[in-house]
């Protein structure tokens, strides 16, 4: 149901997907030592995407209450 997933949840989920893919890629390239660095970067990326200066496509209007 819409309204239960917040904007922050969406951001966290997208960054989590990016982080998993990045760690997998780093391991495949023989760079497992990047994992803690990427985890730190992921925290910063969450903050970056949540910042109020970002221009974004407007959310669709909430359905009228019945």
């Amino acid at each position: 149901m819409r309204g239960q997933v917040t904007r922050d949840d969406t951001i966290r989920a997208s960054v989590e997907r990016w982080l998993r893919a990045s760690i997998e890629d780093a391991e495949r390239r023989g760079l497992p030592e990047l994992k803690p660095l990427l985890e730190g970067l992921a925290q910063a990326t969450v903050a970056l995407r949540a910042a109020d200066w970002n221009d974004t496509v407007p959310e669709p209007p909430e359905p009228a209450a019945t």
């Binding site: 990016w18 990045s22 890629d25 780093a26 760079l31 030592e33 990047l34 660095l37 990427l38 970067l41 910063a44 990326t45 903050a47 970056l48 995407r49 910042a51 200066w53 970002n54 221009d55």
Partner: protein, 452 residues
């Protein structure tokens, strides 16, 4: 005071009036370099023969009435990622082994034109990608006040050289604080001009939108001389003739975030400096930057991918030639998404507007340069209020904002009590008004009490 401890302003009067020769002064600097190289590791390449030849040429020109100005015959050094024709540029890395510059960087050419004598190329954090000057293929730079501690970075060799009398000034680069940070932890003046004012061609980039070139010197007047010469002024003068009275200065003290994490020595020295300024009639009022807690986030998402893009080819071809920490940070930058880079550009715009607003009705912003003093070499984290902070993040915490926004900023040494390590006071001025910042900094320097 020995001759190698003079300011450029003091030395140039003696050179112009032929009380001393450039050859003698250059020899004295070369002796200091030879004596302290093992202890500080400040230089990668010493250009002794070339410096002696340049000094002899300067002496002949001065004797024959061809005095060029206050940098004529003055021995200085360059951070070893600034090209000097015929000399190796190593960037502190094995990656550039065998690379010899074919031409001077523009700033080096302008200094040469002003008559400066180049003593050599200074050690640095590899490719300027670090804040301590520990990760260099040529070994760590050591702090002149305590050689078990780091010199700050990335222009660590430059700062150590200036403080230890191995030349009268040095030219460094500053991408997140790399001139101001080592100036603060070694105890000299370091200037980052307004973004784009000084040309960076002939200088190995770290991050093209954040890179600046700037001087490290023993006084604000000396920093001003070097800045003007690098800006293309053929007859640079130290400071404007009209002195700024400290009683007319208005400073904005950056508060939330900027003073939240400070070690005791920095807090004490910075507090004393503010007291002295207030005592000299300086008006100090509090200012804020609304997105201050996002500064590091914005910086990371700009700096990492820009650095990675420059290094991508060598990173693929010769990854093992990089030191491990620098290689890891370069590799990390390859995972930053383009959309996040664009968001960070938006953040930079927001921060620029906020710093402009904080500067309204004041002449400059004031804050410490680095929240900690020089730490033992090898330190990785420090704890404040029960929270662990990476040393790298602490070193960048108070300087990187002005690389993002482009405002000019300068670090001055605070007065020190016996045995304490140096602490820097930072002033940030209005964009495009670096000369005004320098004039103001000279007044602040005088009000705080000049060199010890």
């Amino acid at each position: 005071m020995t001759i190698t401890g003079l300011t450029i302003a003091e030395l140039s009067n003696r050179l112009a009036s032929r009380q001393v020769s450039s050859s003698d002064v250059t020899e004295a600097c070369l002796e200091r370099i030879a004596a302290d190289s093992g202890r500080l590791n400040a230089f990668i390449t010493v250009l002794a023969d070339e410096a002696r030849a340049d000094a002899r040429r300067a002496d002949i020109e001065i004797a024959s009435g061809g005095y060029r100005g206050p940098l004529h015959g003055v021995p200085i050094s360059l951070k070893d990622l600034i090209d000097l024709a015929g000399a190796p540029t190593t960037a502190g890395s094995r990656v550039l082994e065998g690379h010899v510059a074919v031409a001077d960087a523009t700033v080096a050419a302008r200094l040469r034109e002003a008559g400066a004598v180049f003593l050599g190329k200074c050690n640095l954090h590899e490719f300027a990608f670090g804040t301590t000057s520990e990760d260099s293929a040529f070994g760590p730079v050591r702090n002149p006040w305590d050689s078990t501690r780091f010199a700050g970075g990335s222009s660590g060799g430059s700062a150590a050289a200036v403080v230890a009398g191995m030349g009268f000034a040095s030219i460094g680069t500053d991408t997140g604080g790399s001139v101001r940070i080592p100036a603060a932890v070694c105890g000299c003046v370091g200037l980052k001009p307004t973004s784009g004012e000084l040309p960076c061609d002939g200088i190995i980039p770290l991050s093209r939108t954040l890179d600046h070139v700037g001087p490290l010197a023993r006084s604000v007047a000396d920093a001003s001389l070097l800045y003007r010469a690098m800006a293309g002024d053929r007859n640079p003068r130290g400071l404007p003739s009209s002195r700024v009275p400290s009683g007319s200065l208005r400073l904005g003290l950056l508060k939330p975030y900027f003073l939240d994490v400070l070690d005791g020595d920095v807090e004490k020295a910075f507090g004393l400096a503010l007291e002295r300024l207030a005592g000299a009639g300086v008006t100090i009022s509090e200012r804020a930057v609304r997105h201050a807690s996002d500064i590091a986030t914005v910086y990371l998402h700009l700096q990492l991918p820009e650095a990675s893009a420059y290094h991508a080819r060598r990173l693929d071809a010769d990854p093992d030639l990089y030191t491990a920490p620098v290689r890891q940070r370069l590799e990390m930058g390859r995972y930053v998404l383009a959309e996040d880079y664009v968001r960070a550009r938006g953040g930079a715009d927001a921060l620029r507007r906020e710093v402009d607003a904080a500067l309204e009705d004041v002449d400059a912003l004031v804050l410490p340069t680095v929240p900690i003093t020089a730490q033992p070499i090898g330190s990785t984290t420090l704890t404040f209020g029960g929270q662990a902070y990476p040393v790298r993040a602490l070193m960048l915490r108070l300087t990187q904002l002005f690389n993002i926004t482009g405002h000019p900023a300068i670090s001055l040494p605070c007065s020190r009590s016996g045995g304490s390590l140096p602490v820097g006071l930072q002033l940030a001025g209005h964009r495009g008004r670096t000369p005004d910042l320098l004039a103001l900094a000279a007044a602040v320097e005088e009000a705080m009490g000049r060199r010890e």
